[in-house]
């Protein structure tokens, strides 16, 4: 049974059909890239899956449970976490706090415990902090040490993207949805991030869906590529299959020469 199964998904904004009859499945342990020209409906697809928007029609089944109609925090708790295309951290909170917030739905200390500092609350607080540090250590020295107490807004652009991934990891997901993780990064940083995505799967065992424009990254990390255009799935398959598909080249990739290496 696939981990995520989407059937007959429809979403319209006024007259614009952002998602039109989308069918998609993601198996456990896969890395699936979603590509498509601007306005193809990629981010809307993420918003629908994570509950930030409600679909007009269709079903989204995660782990055997229909998530349509659930609040984003409920869906997150089922084990699906995302990052955002235009990095949306909590700017006036520290790096560590950003990651600690990610664990909100996995912890349960009540207001009473927080005010009176009950033993269980203290224990949980220590665990939250340790887990946050552990998640950050996944990024090597990038987000370690003194960076823990820096406000997230002073981070460099690439580090903000890393921190967003860390925050998503801290929520304890099984499926990670990464929205253009390499947007705005320089080539070196892009290579680093490509490796990181590989490690996310091999070391942490996440299933990953990512939206990506950089074809190098798509080729290097994905098991399967799904092409969207105008809310419709054009085709799917391995990178080589997709990149040689006439329709895709026409709609999105332009001339074959642009496929690059």
């Amino acid at each position: 049974m696939p981990m995520l199964e989407i059937q007959g998904l429809n979403k319209a904004f006024g007259g614009l059909r952002a998602i039109n009859g989308l069918e998609l499945h993601v198996d456990e342990g896969e890395v699936v890239s979603v590509i498509g020209p601007n306005g193809a409906g990629k981010t809307t697809f993420f918003n629908l899956v994570t509950g930030m928007e409600t679909p007009d029609e269709g079903s989204i089944v995660f782990d055997g449970q229909d998530v349509v109609g659930l609040r984003p925090n409920q869906i997150l708790k089922l084990g699906m976490a995302r990052t955002f295309q235009n990095v949306r951290l909590f700017p006036a909170m520290t790096v560590l706090e950003n990651v600690m917030v990610g664990q909100h739905s996995r912890t349960k200390a009540g207001l009473f415990g927080a005010v009176f500092k009950t033993p269980s609350q203290r224990r949980e607080e220590v665990e939250i902090e340790e887990r946050a540090k552990e998640v950050l250590s996944f990024f090597g020295t990038r987000l370690a040490g003194y960076r823990h107490d820096q406000l997230s807004m002073v981070l460099s652009y690439a580090n903000r993207r890393r921190l967003e991934i860390a925050r998503a990891m801290a929520t304890g997901p099984r499926l990670l949805l990464l929205d253009e993780p390499t947007a705005g990064m320089n080539p070196r940083e892009t290579i680093e991030l490509t490796e990181l995505i590989g490690r996310l799967r091999s070391e942490k065992g996440y299933t990953i869906v990512l939206i990506e424009h950089d074809m190098q990254v798509v080729r290097n990390v994905s098991d399967r590529v799904v092409v969207l255009d105008h809310g419709v799935k054009l085709t799917e398959g391995s990178y080589d299959e997709v990149s040689s598909n006439e329709k895709v080249i026409e709609a999105y990739l332009g001339r074959p020469a642009e496929l690059g290496a």
Partner: protein, 562 residues
Amino acid sequence: MVLVAATGMVATFQPRLVIDPIVPLGILFLYLLAFAFGWMAGQPPATLEGYEPATAGSRNVLAGALAGLLGGLCLGLLLIAITVFDLRGVFINMSPELAEILGFGLPVAAAVFVIAVASAFMGALGAGVHLLSRRVRRALIGALTAVIVFSVLTDLFGQLFAGLSLEPVIDFLYTGRGGALTIIGSVVIFGAFIVLFWWMEGRDSTLRQRVQAMPKGQRSRWQIGAALIILVILYFVPRIMGPFVSQILVTAGIYLLMALGLNIVVGYAGLLDLGYVAFFAVGAYTTAILTSPQSPAFNPEISVLASLPFVMVAAAIAGILVATPVIRMRGDYLAIVTLGFGEIARILLNSEWLAPVFGGAQGITNIPDLQIGPLTFSTPQDYFYPIFLFVLLAAYVTFALQKSRWGRAWMAMREDESVAEAMGVNIVTAKLSAFVVGAILASFGGSLFAAQIGSVFPHTFDIVVSITVLVIIIVGGMGSVPGVTLGALVLIVLPNLLREFSEYQFLFYGVLLIVMMLKRPEGFIPSKRRAQELHTEELSQDAWLEIYGEKGQAEQVPEGAV
């Protein structure tokens, strides 16, 4: 200056002498403004990295003099206008007496000349201050301020010295209890403070450095020691200062309690609540109904202390009632709705319809005093202690929550509600809990207020209370407990001590707010993160671009856009 003169401040302040008999307050205030103009005009430009720091010179003085002159000329024009036309029909304060004061009793032409020259002189002085070395400048300005403070707060100092049984000091410094400073007194104060500031220069920061350099154990011992000393001083404050000052402190304490509560709602959770007074009213009325034999609805009576758990429950219910309809609202909409709630509460309390419960416009009287065991609290001095205790409690709750799962959830919600939700924060419970915690703190304030005053009336719970509390946390520093405390002291204690100028209280509030927003938008003592948030642009241009560029982008791009 014209504005100040026109509002009648000068004429009102004139009879009040700062130093008997030579310096009246009205004129001093006016020319202090010229001084301030000069100071601003003569300020050397900010030093940029890599440039020679600008040295202050005659040019700065000239600029100051010009600024003063400009102010003086405007004032002169006003004087001419008053003398030539009768403006009283339009501006009620522009009386011949004002002309008399402004012109020093001289004929108009001479008076205008004198005013212009005097203002220019004060302006030049203000600018000239920048020429002095830092140490001299600080000592001079500090000592001058001290003289003015001693004079303006004559009641406070009179009370202080009387409380310490130092009546001779009063006779020496002042022309009588509540009077102006004597010439000798002001000279002594000026001299003493010059010496003090001269000596202090550099020492305050070395002390701080030394404390910071201490090993952790020693430092915390020092801090505990300092806290104990402060506690002991606070213990004696109401005894020494007497009922008048104690009453002011009690009022400030109640406002502080509310401000700490609102700080959680606005400062942490980012929910702008303009109807906060409603929770204060809930606390006051719950106590009143449960304890007063005059309360129409509820008998038998219980003690004030026993009413506190009920107050808590009532406030929590009120918090949930207000929060439920606004769960899906953000920003401005939320503010407007809560504003409505505040008014609804007041009108309900005032209504004939609910008069059988709340007593209508007559309110509820005969609320007994707070009793804890054998102790009965009746005077303002007595109430200082329980209120102080509750403020400590509120401060503790604030700190405890800030470093908890809930505090983080609130902050995340403040930063970006939809992302917080996507990261697992349950927005519904987060909002409800913020409102409930805020409501409970405010209701304790209300409860103590009712017990202390002994009666509650609907008109007390006016929108102005909500606004004042909000101003306290904005001016003090949102999200920072010391900041909010200082804000309450400045905005509640000062106006009450300066009751003789109460006519202009809100004018000063307004000026203070404008100046604060321009010069120090993060408040007096901001929380660290907020200071950084508002001043990153000064740290680096890039950061500025990124923050504001991104914020703008995030707002413009609708959720659905790809």
